[in-house]
Amino acid sequence: MSAPLGPLRAMREKLRGALRRGLVAALDVGSAKTCCLLLRVDGQRLARAQAEGRAVDVFGAVRVAGAGVTKSRGVRLGEIVDMEEACRAIRTALEIAEKTAGERVDQVVCSLSAARPLSEAAHGETLVEGLEVSANDVARAVFACRPGARREGRETLHAQPVNFALDGVDGLTDPRGMSGSRLACDMHLLTVASGPLRNLAQCVRRADLDLAGVVAGGYAAGLSSLVEDERKLGAACVDLGAGGTDVAIFLRGHLIHAEAVRLGGDHITLDIANGLSMSTVAAERIKTFHGGAVATGLDDRELIEAPGLGDPGPGERRRISRAVLIGVIRPRLEEILETVRDRLGAAGFQHLPGRRIVLTGGAAQMPGLEEAAQRVLGRRVRVGTPLRVAGLPSTVSGPAFAGAVGLAIHAALPQDEAWDFEVPLAPNGHGRIRRAVRWFRENW
């Protein structure tokens, strides 16, 4: 791990500070909507729950004090393309949330979907120094993990130790205090293109906010919409967003793989607009109100109003049957699901014990999606809605808000990343001096 961890460490410190002060915001900048949740955290209860390591108690310590949702602007395919517009959307969402809560929040946790995530596995080994494994040994094992090759223009988003092995005994989550001689660590490294990440950070800064963490979009959605058992036994979360689809694979409670498919609900809307020659606004509207994934005989007779481009007044609007609409939607939906299936296959998803797939995100609200997905992805598919966090308004509790709610969960109970471990001390004095020097460089 030679990557510069300074900024990441600093962000984590900011998050801890915000949790201590009891107020942190979760900001999900998506292609369709920008959602901001203002979380009020009961610090004492949170610390107690974290000490016991029970996720359920952690949710009890977090309360949504305000929620703001607004239409996104300047975001395409999950990436910011117009800084000013995106910043304005963030301001709007934050303003609503702050007004609801009546408080000002400074630290914000963001999710980054798309941005071409790339999962990598890294492996590191070290010799245990004493009789039993100490925290320093664990840190050395973590920092011994070498990523394959550093690529230009990419930045680390997550570096989570997912597995420890001590003398060949695999599957340890916390090897501290155990006795052995060789400690090995498996790490999941997630890198993203640095451009979108920097744009997001810049945008947040321009909105007068302090970035306290960035989380991969699929990972956030998985945190909120997968049941804990699913995360343990192996499951994939497919976040069907507007601009893109995020896939995250969990095993033993850890994220082990993340993907992004650059196809989403907006593509379906565009297909409808093109195929039925309508405006995108009208296409989005009939998709939302009448869309579906599976056609039945009844749909042939159900006529819906579909104003074509240049149609005159309301009285003479064109009417099409719902079956036609579904006929347009379905191929694109299947294309998305097939791409997801291919990506999952390439990642070796079929070898996992659980093999559950949970669909979430805005497009997951489409009727009949579950049936269509089961045909493509297999029987173990369900549509998941995000976990209920206390104080969450019902308007913000649908599958479309899985990412935002997942961010809230992540903010309260962040997974250990490589930069949460202390840099291991060398046995001689050099390490200490180097540490002091580094501290100065990071802080001054």
Binding site: T70, R73, R88, A89, R91, T92, E95, E98, G102, E103, R104, A207, D208
Partner: protein, 295 residues
């Protein structure tokens, strides 16, 4: 370009709104700043001499209006426990109290002034409900005449100075005390005076010696020196000597009783000569007698 239906707040408004949401800012603007302004205004007023003068004048006017009311005027002065002379002195020292407002009256000062009078031992000054100033006086009783630097003063039994006595002869019944610290120890002198008995008519005065002990000056420049402790016993011993031996009727200048067990006489020159003559005569007589026996 900004879309028409974009609800986003303008950057400046957004920043101001967020600033306003900061608790410290809000408290500063709603509580601290007004309090500070108020305090500053008050300080400005307080430091302005014109305001001071106006306020003072106002207060004076209110006070004057209040004191001028007839309900607060003093109508009578009642003096108790004083003879006519002392009462006149008390009234003189009170000054122009009658008709003044009782609000302006400083009773404590009045009392101090009255107690400053020689003839007054203590006084109580009180405002009566019936618009009267009641003054209760305890008079001093002259017990002795104290001569200090050649001037006689009247003092009471506690040694407090009452008034200058113009002449010793005006107070023939009072004993005369003289000397440093005589006034403070006048009680002893009075006790001696009472114990004098048959010697009383001969006593001219009591002299305090070295602020320590008493001499009794007797007629004919005879001095009776008394001991420091228990002078009355010394006096009584002297009285006993006088009764048996008529000491003071002889040629003595002083009878020294300072050592009670060893009274000492000091003779006049005439007495010394007489004694020497008597001794010589007695010696001559004895020699003559021896000669006769020898012969």
């Amino acid at each position: 370009m900004r879309a028409l239906n974009d609800p986003a707040p303008a950057p400046l408004r957004y920043r101001l709104a967020r600033l306003w949401r900061r608790r410290s800012v809000r408290r500063a603007a709603t509580v601290q700043a007004p309090a500070l302004a108020l305090a500053a205004f008050a300080a400005m007023l307080a430091s302005d001499p014109g305001v001071h003068a106006a306020l003072g004048a106002q207060a004076q006017a209110v006070r004057a209006a209040l004191t001028a009311r007839p309900e607060f005027a003093i109508r009578r002065i009642e003096v108790e426990g004083a003879g006519p002379m002392v009462e006149a002195e008390v009234l003189a020292v009170l000054g122009d109290v009658l008709g003044a407002s009782s609000i302006d009256l400083d009773v404590a000062a009045l009392r101090r002034r009255i107690e400053g009078l020689g003839w007054v031992e203590s006084a109580r000054v009180a405002l009566d409900a019936r618009e009267a100033l009641r003054i209760a006086v305890v008079e001093r009783v002259a017990a002795a005449v104290w001569r200090r630097d050649g001037e006689p003063y009247l003092i009471d039994a506690k040694g407090a100075e009452i008034t200058p006595a113009f002449a010793r002869a005006d107070h023939p019944d009072l004993p005369l005390v003289i000397g440093d610290g005589a006034a403070a120890a006048v009680a002893e002198a009075l006790a001696l005076h009472r114990a004098a008995g048959p010697l009383a008519p001969r006593i001219r005065g009591f002299v305090r010696v070295g602020a320590r002990r008493w001499d009794v000056a007797l007629a004919g420049d005879v001095t009776l020196m008394l001991p420091e402790t228990d002078p009355v016993a010394g006096l009584e011993a002297a009285l006993a000597l006088q009764k048996r031996k008529r000491v003071f009727d002889r040629d003595v200048v002083a009878l020294d009783m300072r050592l009670p067990e060893r009274p000492t006489l000091r003779l006049t020159e005439r007495g010394v000569a007489a004694l020497a003559e008597k001794d010589a005569a007695r010696e001559a007589a004895r020699k003559a007698a021896r000669r006769e026996r020898g012969a």
